[in-house]
């Protein structure tokens, strides 16, 4: 009788999957933390144009978003296909832009108020007339820092 008797187990032992839930939970928490739920639901078609000379917009809380484009298919029956502006969750007219900027400014701390950037998320099929009107309103509201939000890609893609 040897003391070191080989254990006699037939075949390979089953791999323990007990830690699998832990791993999956870890991943789950990661995605839960990084997920940003959109705070506004888009009511306009919003296919952004491409550009490659872009700068990143980092400070999320210092950005005001103005959306423009033609209404999404499910709203087209009531609102037609003419391009519109969307502020927060509602359709708005050009005249509302100044008021919107003022409200956004007031909701921020005083020292941050002049650091706000306006991000224009405009559908690439929109006419420049509307964009120019928005720009003119922004000038009147003295919100001069703007960013044409784009997707990253070669500019030639816009010409198709």
């Amino acid at each position: 009788m040897s003391k070191f008797k080989k254990k006699d187990d037939g075949g390979t032992p089953a791999i323990s999957t007990a830690s699998l839930p832990d791993i999956v939970f870890m991943l789950l928490f990661f995605f839960m933390v990084v997920t940003v739920m959109r705070d506004t639901s888009l009511k306009v078609q919003n296919i952004l144009p491409f550009a490659d000379q872009v700068e990143k917009l980092d400070k999320k809380n210092l950005i005001m978003y103005i959306y423009a484009g033609k209404p999404s298919p499910r709203y087209q029956e009531t609102f037609g296909t003419e391009a519109r502006i969307q502020l927060n969750d509602k359709y708005a007219s050009v005249n509302d832009v100044q008021q919107f900027i003022k409200e956004e400014r007031l909701s921020k701390r005083e020292e941050l108020q002049d650091k706000l950037t306006t991000a224009l998320k405009v559908d690439k099929e929109t006419n420049m007339g509307l964009v120019s009107d928005i720009k003119q309103e922004l000038r009147k509201a003295e919100a001069l820092k703007i960013n044409y939000t784009t997707k990253e890609g070669a500019a030639e893609l816009n010409l198709e």
């Binding site: 999956v24 872009v54 700068e55 420049m128 120019s132 816009n158």
Partner: protein, 202 residues
Amino acid sequence: MAKRSAPEVNAGSMADIAFLLLIFFLVTTTIETDSGITRKLPPIDDSEEEPPILKERNIFIVLVNSNGDLFVEDEKMEFRDLRQSAIDFLDNGGGTGDEACDYCQGAKDPKSSDNPIKAVISLQNDRKTQYGRYIAVQNELVAAYNELRNREANRLYDTDFVDMEAAFNDSEWRGDKEKLKERIGIIKEMYPQKLSEAEPKK
């Protein structure tokens, strides 16, 4: 009654449940970092003062009409040639005396711009121009400026201007920000971005 040990809860399906949740979050997640072309609008000028008159050769007029055609100085141009012709215009350095440009590498054509400091690009559009086209053109013009600025930054500081700006805006970046700011300022002074976006005429 015989004392029975509590039966073990079968945790085998735990992984399935977690996977289900995981997949839900994977699908709904949009890791968005917004990026785009940053521009500064000119403030509204109420004063009656006449703007200074610019020499015609210092203005580079780019027009995108309602059909999306590109006209540069009243001549039709292909989109892919725009960047180079903007660079040629900005970097021309045709001035003499006080207006000479010692770092320009352009053709020094007397009919084109005197100095990058004086050169203005005027981007015009119709009200019916498509936004996508406008952005494409705007992108090319910004690219022209960036290319020239990169060239000078490489010559003077051995780094790209775009990288310098990215480092400056990055709060994680460890380094001498004051010095960087000064360098960025110098390059910006050499090639100031005088890109005017006029209001559409029709």
